[in-house]
């Protein structure tokens, strides 16, 4: 298996995209997950539904809306233009925005589940010890929800690496900017360069399997630790 320079550029770009998206999603997703885990509001169901939408929406729908919304006549495009940032399609940051939507449920849901599993008791105990809400969040909730954060990071990262449809629709296939591994593979296959396609596809298969294997091992270890 050998990679061309273009392949390596695509691999590096994909890793950069997935890392950026995962970090941003942990920042954005944590408060959303916390709110979803605690709230009794009537808005809980609609917000949870919006977060979960990418699980069932075809990437073509998301890609189509994003292309229009982020374009020069779309509301998001006019917003970014008014900030002097130009429009986002065909740029790395356009892919970041798209991927944040696309990978959101993979990050929010594990964190939310972990936070719900904590229950009221530890928080009440902390409150009787005069811990304020922020203190409770940082010294009780975050450590107890750690397994959820690890699962969320792994899934968010892996899901962004595997993204294809949206990127094809808003990326414009620019080397080093928007041509990620999945698009590079697609190009190889379409151009009938099956050897190069095999190398990259094999690497992706190996990566995805290892990620899931690591995840399940981790979850098993946690269960055993809990039982003991």
């Amino acid at each position: 298996m050998s990679f061309s320079e273009a392949d390596l550029t695509a691999i590096w770009l994909t890793l950069r995209l997935a890392t950026t998206v995962t970090l941003l999603l942990l920042l954005i997703g944590t408060p959303i997950a916390w709110w979803l885990a605690r709230t009794q509001s009537v808005w809980k169901a609609p917000v949870a539904a919006i977060v979960a939408l990418p699980l069932i929406l075809p990437p073509t729908v998301l890609g189509f809306y994003l292309l229009i919304a982020m374009g020069p006549h779309g509301f998001f495009g006019q917003f970014t233009q008014s900030l002097g940032l130009g429009t986002l399609p065909f740029t790395f940051w356009g892919l970041v925005v798209a991927s944040i939507f696309y990978s959101m449920p993979f990050v929010v849901q594990p964190i939310q589940n972990a936070m719900e599993a904590i229950g009221e008791r530890p928080l009440e105990v902390a409150a009787t010890l005069r811990a304020g809400p922020l203190d409770r969040f940082f010294s009780v909730v975050l450590p107890l929800a750690k397994p959820g954060f690890i699962t969320a990071s792994i899934l968010g990262f892996a899901h962004t690496v595997g993204e294809f449809g949206i990127i094809l629709m808003i990326g414009g296939n620019i080397p080093g900017e928007t041509r990620v591994i999945s698009v590079q593979i697609y190009d190889h296959v379409e151009a009938l360069e099956f050897m190069q396609a095999h190398a990259l596809s094999g690497a992706m298969l190996l990566f995805s399997f290892s990620v899931l294997l690591a995840l399940y091992w981790l979850q098993r270890k946690q269960k055993i630790a809990l039982l003991n």
Partner: protein
């Protein structure tokens, strides 16, 4: 008694009709979408056959046909892929022919953004230039030809965005995300007129003609409908439709 014989006749004619009518699957290059829809509907009315059209990138269809896709006819955007299928003996011998010659246009979705010349391109007054991926799409290869002739490759390269095929390239321009793009004239023309925006129809001297070939595939060998559609493509009716979408008439090019 009379009504029975009438209904017998009806049933008989229905049976005869279905015995002759035939369903065919046709793979069509994206750039030929609009004219093919019109031609197919005329053909269906005239013949009673049913045509199922699939639109997409020629490269994808080539790979699918190689792996047994159930298409009877293939209308490619180039000559290479049909010729390759011919060499691989996947088509009915002698069925390959040029059905249309495509024209390339520089297009903007904004009225008056470009005049009928390359000035704006040469002055680099645009944000992005959409081009069909030249690795996959013949219209992309033609676009690169034009840029080479205008000595613009290096100066515009940083502004290129690639569409997977000519349909996506059109989409990038029509949504305003790219100011300019090289598209198929057939995408922006209807009834001999520009549908929207502004364009420069590129002189033929600037690129190798985009000859588009069609073939009858092995699975269509015994299908009268597939053969009838191929014959229909060569009629004046079909050619008039192609011309109204900006394809060059074949008599002039052969």
């Amino acid at each position: 008694m009379g009504s029975i014989s009438v209904s017998c006749l009806l049933v008989l004619s229905l049976l005869l009709h279905t015995a002759h009518a035939d369903d065919i699957n046709v793979a069509v290059a994206s750039n030929f979408t609009a004219p093919m829809k019109e031609i197919a509907s005329l053909f269906e009315h005239a013949s009673g056959h049913k045509v199922r059209l699939s639109f997409g990138a020629s490269g994808k269809f080539y790979a699918q046909i190689k792996h047994g896709a159930p298409f009877h006819l293939f209308f490619s955007a180039d000559q290479q892929k049909p010729a390759q299928l011919e060499r691989e003996e996947l088509i009915v011998p002698g069925s390959r022919f040029t059905y249309a010659v495509g024209q390339l246009a520089l297009w903007s979705a904004q009225e008056g953004f470009i005049k009928a010349n390359p000035d704006r391109l040469l002055a680099l007054q645009f944000n992005k230039l959409a081009i069909a991926n030249p690795k996959l799409a013949p219209y992309g290869v033609a676009a690169i030809d034009v840029l080479e002739h205008l000595a613009l490759i290096d100066r515009t390269k940083s502004r290129w965005v690639h569409g997977e095929n000519i349909a996506q390239t059109y989409q990038f321009v029509s949504t305003g995300n790219a100011d300019l793009g090289f598209v198929a004239l057939s995408q922006i023309m209807k009834e001999g007129r520009l549908k929207a925006g502004s364009s420069w129809i590129i002189p033929e001297a600037l690129y190798t003609p985009i000859k588009q070939d069609a073939v009858l595939l092995r699975s269509g060998e015994d299908s009268p409908a597939a053969q009838a559609l191929l014959r229909f493509m060569k009629t004046e009716q079909a050619e008039a439709i192609m011309q109204s979408y900006g394809y060059k008439p074949l008599a002039r090019t052969q």
